[in-house]
Amino acid sequence: MPARASRPGGVVALDLSGLATLGAPRQRSIARFPWHVALLALSISGLGVWNLASASRSSHVEVWAAQATWMAVGLGLALAVVLVDYRLFRRGAWILYGGVVVLLLLVLWKGRMVMGARRWLTFGPVNFQPSELAKIAVILALARWFSTDRESDPRRGPRGLAGIAIPGALVLLPALLVQRQPDLGTALITVAVGATMILFAGVRWKTLAVLGTVVVLAGAAAWPHLKPYQRKRVETFLDPEGDVLGAGYHATQSMIAVGSGQGLGKGWGQGTQTLLSFLPEQHTDFIFSVWAEEHGFAGTLLLLTLYFGLVGSGITIAMNARDRFGQFVAVGCTALLFWHVFVNMGMVTGILPVVGVTLPLMSYGGTSVLVVFTALAMLASVGTRRFVN
């Protein structure tokens, strides 16, 4: 784990955290700030803006400038989040959760219709997607729940069905609301993040087996209720070349873009798939194929390493977290990052079906940038306050 090597004192610090008291001296906090997380995040952001500048050549829209602006805003937000002691979020967790559920209901009722889905709320000049905020709300709510419930007593052992019923419901309520929009990608990520946190809290093997069976059966039962385009995507995933001009178009063109990058890539601004708009959604969900086409295997290896560094750092921060709430927040934020990266890259390279999931810090989109920066800031906040003498 690369992040760990840079901080040899980590394990020792963890042992001392049992003696934690509130309010660390400020200068010590700055010293403990996980600079590597910031460095990794800013590196990826930089590459992201640079990559967007290439991806937007064909449409002649200065997407990268807008993205850079969003990143500046995100950076400000992140700074604010880091400065606030994360334990404050613990108090606000239920309020945020409640607010997000209300907003999600509002979206279904009054949301703006874009391409067959209601995902946006408009407040004056600002458009935003409550579903993105839902991910943060679920992380905080679950962290709050797991930090206080009775089952947390380690002597009780892993949880049974009763122990995960309420957290499960906490995840499923917003996920189902998001799925109603419909936004399968965000719903899936929300569920994946929630599931990761629940698993981290500890679940009995028997319970897992039962749940697994139920999920498979439910999936089979839900199949007829999926939207035709969603079903088509799964079918296409199973046989992407079966319908090259239709539903398989995304997957096929994306794989062509990635593969044609070869070892070293075509060079910045030289990607033909990008330039000639063969890539659908090339600014957002398929941004990774632009990167892969222009920078080749070397470029994708670099990006993968950066993301892995970020995920690894997140896990280390979770290990060294001072309290249970912080640990769950760190796990949740890391899971959010990981699932986004994995599902997105899996989709672009054709090993997962096409679902609308962005690549953190690379994909264009204000809400996405703000949410990712917030998650990273919470992670950093936990990392900064990892121990107090």
Partner: protein
């Protein structure tokens, strides 16, 4: 504030390590997938990316020209525009786009239905292919389309497509042929043939035009040329990108090569004269160079304008053509049977002389009828011709004389000489669809008719009725053989030239057989043919030409069995009227030109076919003189002398020199002067 008990931390750390392991594996999966796509299969995907954006546009080759012997352009290509629709690009809006197009281009109901039908039925890749909505739009229509480009959406495109221009419409159109668009099934068949034949012949593509009939079909390969290629970069929507150097400079354009040109033996001045002189609704006028067998003029009526057949014709018009009882699509000169009538009497005469049935100078008494076994055959002159010899019998066209020869000689002997003169088999003109005609012998009748051959049949055959059937071209070859003693293979293409004018292939005159007859026989027959035109009793006395001695024979081919009463042509329904024939050559002592005229359902040969033939002969000789004069005047060879060195023109009479130019029935001086 519940602080984490240290025991749980241990548990938590284990789970975090599990998660780290999971994340590690997940990233390794992604990495190996990327390695697979980019490193292992990178080359393949690089190629596919290139196929994505390189669009090959065809640069259509100019099809070869068709020229007459003086290099006058008969068929060429002119720039024009076709409107195409790509159904995929308009999707659900197609209906509206079609309605819009229908208004702008004023479609007929048929045309609009055809397009809608295609929209309904086209599936899969067909939806991406441009579908020709209208060919060859006018300049005004092009402007209208351009002005409404936005409303018509990206699905409508106007493609520059060179179209064949048959400069003289229906004239000689059966010979020239026509072209139209290749069909989807036919395309596969054509390309399979090309592949089987090997070589580097370009395959055909959808929307290509191919030669359908006549010379366009026969010389498709030579005329076609080689298409070039333009490679452009396109984006995902198929739009061409202008400023893109994704394709190396030297691969962007491969020029097309024009097809070869055909130089025909037709003299368009003569053709034009014949077209204007020939009064018939249906029929043929053929003129051949007696010294080479090359065709000089070929009128064939009725005909359909090949410019129309090249895609501009509507279904209704096509149905009308198909339903026309005159069968305008039939190339009569080589595809229709006719009784030769009296023109056949030369064959009977030759046979009789050679077989010894007729002594030189032998006579027959004609009382106006010939009786055999209780049946009576009637002569064309009811009162009879009295005692006639061969000269008189041919000249006045006495039937009884030839009934008598047929009676004495029998069918087989006539058939033998008919075959020697080229009847009963194709003449060998290098065009598709020539029929062989019928020269029946006894075996032929035995095989085909109930009761087999009857002796009386030879009487009918002797005067060119019965089951003798010839095409007008066979008549031409036959009279050419009588004129020169050679059975020519009629040809119409002098040479094939490449676009720079270099000769690729030159066609030499070809003699298929020589007539094995005694000189006396030929002389005797010739005397009869001369009498036809040059003696007052001759059937064509009225059309004799001053200064030139023409030999010929009239014919009136019976279409239906003669009734009891003799009727005038105007009193008989059109399709029951006789066909009029006239076959001639001139000058008689050294024939230069052979002419055959067939005027369908017009009555007598002397009045309805002979005048055209005579005018044509006269015109030809005038043209020859005119050319000779020009050659002398210019002191260098004219643009394109006929391939065989022309015989010296008949001695020009003083004072005649100025006249002929104006004598052409008020026609403009013929053709284009050579360079």
């Amino acid at each position: 504030m519940a602080l984490t008990p240290s025991g749980a931390r241990g548990e938590g750390t284990t789970r975090l390590l599990w998660m780290a392991g999971f994340a590690g594996v997940a990233f390794l999966v992604l990495l190996s997938r990327l390695y697979h796509l980019q490193v292992l299969r990178g080359d393949e995907y690089r190629l596919r990316a290139e196929e994505n954006f390189v669009k090959e546009l065809r640069v259509p080759a100019d099809r070869g020209l068709v020229l007459d012997r003086n290099r006058k352009v008969l068929v060429d290509s002119r720039p024009s525009y076709d409107v195409v629709l790509i159904p995929y690009f308009c999707g659900k809006g197609c209906d509206e786009v079609v309605s819009r197009l229908a208004t702008l281009l004023s479609f007929s109901f048929d045309e609009e239905e055809r397009v809608r039908e295609h929209l309904r039925t086209a599936r899969g890749l067909l939806r991406f292919r441009p579908y020709t909505v209208k060919v060859d739009i006018s300049r005004d229509e092009l402007d209208v389309i351009e002005a409404n480009r936005i409303e018509l959406s990206g699905a409508v495109d106007v493609l520059p497509t060179p179209h064949r221009s048959y400069r003289h419409g229906v004239w000689a159109s059966h010979l020239l042929g026509y072209m139209n668009e290749v069909g989807p099934e036919e395309l596969g068949k054509l390309n399979a043939e090309i592949e089987k034949a090997g070589g580097d012949v370009q395959p055909y593509q959808a929307r290509d035009f191919v030669g359908r009939r006549g010379l366009e079909k026969r010389y498709e390969k030579e005329l076609r040329g080689v298409d070039g290629t333009q490679r452009v970069v396109v984006d995902a929507r198929g739009n061409a990108m202008r400023e893109s150097d994704l394709i190396p400079e030297d691969q962007r354009f491969e020029p097309s090569y024009p097809g070869n040109n055909l130089v025909l033996s037709l003299d368009w001045r003569l053709q034009e004269f014949a077209e204007k002189t020939f009064p018939a609704t249906a029929g043929s006028v053929l003129a051949m160079d007696a010294r080479t067998g090359f065709i000089l003029a070929l009128v064939d009526r009725p005909a359909v304008d090949p410019n129309k057949l090249a895609g501009r014709i509507t279904r209704a018009e096509l149905a009308e053509i198909r339903a026309d009882p005159l069968q305008p699509e039939l190339f009569r000169a080589i595809q229709q049977h006719y009784h030769p009538g009296s023109t056949f009497k030369v064959v009977t005469a030759m046979a009789a002389l050679e077989e010894g049935t007729l002594r030189p100078g032998g006579t027959v008494y004609c009382p106006g009828r010939y009786t055999l076994g209780g049946h009576s055959w009637r002569c064309d002159k009811e009162s009879g011709h009295g005692y006639v010899d061969l000269e008189h019998a041919l000249g006045a066209s006495c039937d009884v004389f030839f009934y008598s020869l047929g009676d004495r000689m029998g069918t087989d002997k006539i058939a033998k000489w008919g075959s020697l003169l080229g009847l009963g088999k194709p003449t060998g003109l290098d065009l598709q669809g020539e029929i062989p005609g019928v020269m029946p012998d006894e075996a032929w009748h035995d095989a085909r008719q109930p009761g087999g051959h009857q002796h009386g049949m030879s009487l009918n055959i002797a005067i060119g009725q019965g089951d003798v059937n010839v095409t007008p071209l066979q008549q031409l070859v036959l009279y050419g053989a009588i004129a020169t003693g050679k059975v020519w293979r009629p040809q119409v293409v002098l040479r094939i030239e490449d676009p720079r004018g270099e000769v690729v292939k030159e066609f030499a005159p070809e003699v298929r057989a020589t007539l094995p007859v005694k000189p006396e026989t030929r002389e005797a027959v010739m005397k009869g043919l001369l009498a036809t035109v040059n003696e007052p009793f001759g059937t064509a006395w009225g059309v004799r030409i001053k200064d030139v001695v023409m030999a010929g024979k009239t014919g009136t081919a019976q279409v239906v069995k003669l009734g009891a009463k003799r009727l005038k042509a105007s009193q008989i329904p059109y399709f029951q009227r006789d066909h009029a024939w006239f076959a001639a050559f001139a000058p008689a002592d050294d024939p230069e030109i052979v002419v055959v005229v067939l005027n369908e359902h017009s009555g007598f040969g002397s009045s309805n076919a002979a005048p055209t033939a005579a005018a044509l002969v006269k015109k030809w000789l005038e043209l020859q003189e005119e050319d000779a004069r020009r050659r002398e005047g210019v002191q260098r060879p004219a643009a394109a002398p006929p391939p065989a060195a022309p015989a010296p023109p008949p001695p020009a009479l003083p004072g005649k020199a100025e006249k002929p130019a104006r004598a052409g029935a008020g026609l403009p001086p013929g053709g284009r002067r050579g360079a």
